[in-house]
């Protein structure tokens, strides 16, 4: 379904949509306060952007370096050209370890690769251990936000699903009570898992280590209790040196939730005695995106989710309206690179207000890329402006009221704007809005009479 339809559905429950908007705006406000506490904030953004630009410009070098240094540290490095290969690699490790149940902390990459259904098909039980992710997993839903996976749900929804799955008291909606129930439930899973999967926030070729950030501590609970740690990362997650972490860790949590830093920032450099660490480097369309001059810097994204929290569209349409693994503004510039037809409405799900670009900690020009994708999409779909405007104009004549109004309008505008799209689809305009009164004469007519 297209974004406009999904958004319209979401907005039908006006109260809930308003709550969703307010909740995410609250996160955006926390981010504002936190970022404004750092005098050098804008300079940090510039640095982060520059560091990422540099990495992307010699990504092949850094990937090889990372493989060298990480391998020297005893980390087993794997390369996956696409999602299928990534999933196969994970499965083969699990099979080698005869592992039938794993714990997994938040990783957008494994969502992108649809790892969970793949493993489940092969008889592996996957337990998402981030609380929000566990909640949506219980409901058989994907995360609706990359940092706040269950942000679309209310306490009541969670209470109900926990009552069903974890036998919590019916009607008890206390977040502390529900969280504690999840703690007990998941601790049992942690104690039993032989293999733990995590994502990667940053990988450092200088030291051959990678960093995973969480607030709950679930990634660490998983990997330190398991025998094998599998870390999955997109190839763009590299930053050259440890010192660069100083820049990124200052930006990440402040942008994401307004915290000054995530609670646990774990640097994995070599496995503990007797244990294993596997690092899977995944392409899955990233080299393709890197080849697109106008869109390559979308790969600078550090998945903080700030563009979602600030986006007036995302807040009022919810993550699922995008139908893509990464929703929101950043998702709308990443997804068309994966499937331009399937995601053709996403770059249009924006007013190009530019808030996403100003909030982005690595200064991705998101709204400009949305504009550029629009140009690409109309080309790829073989649309012409004339066809589009005809299509829209056709709609007008279906509504008699709109016809009456638009006739006048069209008469007035068609003289100057034969191709204009803006006034033709007046039926959609007039549904919830009045049309401006048409004055007796245009400015041009007035000027001609009075001034020239």
């Amino acid at each position: 379904m297209s974004h406009p339809n999904q958004a319209a559905n979401f907005l039908k429950d006006e109260k809930r949509a308003h709550w969703h908007d307010e909740t995410l705006w609250f996160v955006r406000e926390k981010r504002d306060i936190s970022s404004k506490g750092i005098p050098e904030w804008e300079e940090l953004r510039k640095l982060a952007s520059g560091i990422k630009d540099h990495v992307l410009s010699k990504l092949d070098y850094y990937l090889e370096e990372l493989e060298k240094t990480a391998s020297a540290n005893g980390i087993k490095v794997h390369w996956a050209k696409d999602a299928a290969e990534h999933n196969e690699i994970v499965l083969s490790i699990l099979q080698e370890k005869k592992c039938k149940a794993i714990v997994k902390s938040k990783s957008i990459l494994t969502e992108e690769c649809h790892l969970n259904p793949f493993l489940e098909k092969h008889g592996v039980e996957v337990v998402d251990t981030d609380l929000g992710e566990r909640i949506v997993q219980f409901l058989n839903q994907p995360p609706s936000h990359i940092v706040l996976p269950a942000i679309h749900l209310k306490k009541r929804d969670i209470s109900e699903i926990f009552h069903e799955k974890l036998q919590t008291e019916k009607g008890n909606e206390d977040p502390a009570y529900l969280t504690n129930a999840a703690r007990i439930h998941l601790r049992d899973k942690f104690m039993k898992a032989k293999v733990a999967i995590t994502g990667v926030n940053f990988a450092i070729p200088e030291t051959g280590e990678f960093v995973v950030c969480t607030n709950e501590g679930n990634a660490d609970m998983g990997v330190h209790l398991a025998d094998v740690h599998i870390a999955c990362m997109g190839i763009e997650k590299i930053i050259p040196k440890r010192e660069h972490l100083g820049v990124f860790l200052r930006l990440l949590a402040r942008s994401a939730t307004g915290q000054s830093i995530t609670n646990y920032n774990s640097h994995f450099r070599s496995p503990a005695p007797g244990k294993e660490i596997h690092l899977i480097l995944v392409d899955n369309g990233r080299t393709e995106q890197l080849s697109r001059e106008k869109f390559k810097n979308s790969l600078k994204c550090i998945r903080c989710g700030a563009c979602m929290n600030t986006c007036p569209i995302y807040r009022r349409s919810g993550g699922y309206s995008y139908g893509s693994t990464v929703p929101g503004p950043i998702g709308s510039i990443l997804s068309p690179g994966i499937d331009v037809k399937k995601y053709s409405t996403l770059p249009f799900a924006s007013t190009l207000c530019g808030s996403c670009s100003d909030v982005c900690p690595v200064k991705i020009n998101i709204h400009e890329q949305l504009y550029e994708w629009r140009q690409e999409i109309t080309k790829a779909q073989g649309w012409s402006a004339k066809e589009m405007s005809m299509k829209m104009a056709n709609g007008i004549f279906k509504s008699p009221l709109a016809y009456k109004v638009s006739g006048k309008v069209l008469r007035a505008t068609l003289k100057t704007l034969p191709d204009s799209l803006i006034y033709n689809p007046l039926n959609a305009w007039g549904k919830g809005r009045n049309v401006p009164e048409v004055p007796k004469e245009s400015f041009k007519e007035w000027y001609q009479k009075n001034r020239s």
Partner: protein, 247 residues
């Protein structure tokens, strides 16, 4: 100093009084202003819909119409941003195009940055809410953006500062988009309306008499929603308030 008035097509057709106010205001401030009759739509609706490549004709027309002026001034941040950033490159006219893109100004930035008038002296005893259009704000940087860690500024509010009796309220969400967005207003109708309603509520919660803005397109959208829902608030373009207030 020859100043050309660049009037967005929808202002020409629906809001001629905004164009008149702009003209009169610039004249009162001593500018030699004229309105080149051959101007058409700048091509923004097309370009934002993904058809920038089909606006070559309009763009050539724009260059031809405005090339002989020192400054081109429009009562619209959005159209100015389009001319500056989204006109397709016109072959063999690159230098000329660049020059024109440099001399096109939105009204408030022309008054502040070129005429350097600082503020407008006059009186306008009303309580208003100012709606910063996103293209003006984050595109042209006419005011500071709440996302950035920068010193707050707002060129329109600077112009208001010398006007007696004029109270500009501080909105709860300082600079959220109104949901107009050009064709977005119709392709994402439901969202557009909701965003407009929310923006309107913020102004109304602060008991404003008038919602003012530098882009008539945003105001047209907000006004359409306000009227449909019988909200008692007036709408005026920045140029109208300044032109009425100036003494």
């Amino acid at each position: 100093m020859k100043v050309a008035l660049f009037i967005p097509c929808y202002i020409d057709q629906f809001y001629p009084h905004v164009a008149k106010a702009t003209l009169e205001l610039l004249e009162k401030l001593g500018c030699d202003v004229s309105y080149p009759m051959d101007q058409t739509c700048c091509g923004q609706p097309m370009a934002n819909s993904g058809f920038e490549r089909e606006t070559v004709g309009t763009t050539k027309q724009f260059l031809e119409t405005f090339k002989d002026f020192d400054f081109i001034v429009a009562p619209s941040g959005s159209c100015v941003l389009h001319v500056k950033e989204h006109q397709p490159k016109i072959e063999r006219q690159e230098a000329e195009q660049k020059e024109i893109q440099h001399k096109v100004y939105e009204l408030s930035e022309f008054l502040i940055d070129i005429l350097k008038i600082g503020t407008i002296k006059g009186s306008f005893p009303h309580k208003i809410g100012f709606h910063s259009s996103c293209h003006g704000q984050r595109g042209l940087r006419l005011s500071s953006s709440s996302e950035l860690n920068e010193k707050p500024f707002n060129k329109a509010k600077d112009l208001f500062a010398g006007i007696q009796g004029l109270e500009v309220v501080e909105l709860t969400r300082k600079d959220e988009c109104c949901g107009f967005g050009g064709t977005f207003a119709v392709t994402e109708e439901a969202l557009s309306i909701q965003m407009g309603k929310d923006r309107l509520s913020d102004h109304l919660a602060h008991q404003v008499e008038i919602i003012c803005g530098g882009d008539t397109s945003c105001l047209m959208h907000l006004q359409g929603i306000a009227e449909r829902n019988n909200k008692p608030v007036k709408f005026m373009h920045l140029a109208e308030i300044l032109n009425q207030a100036i003494s």
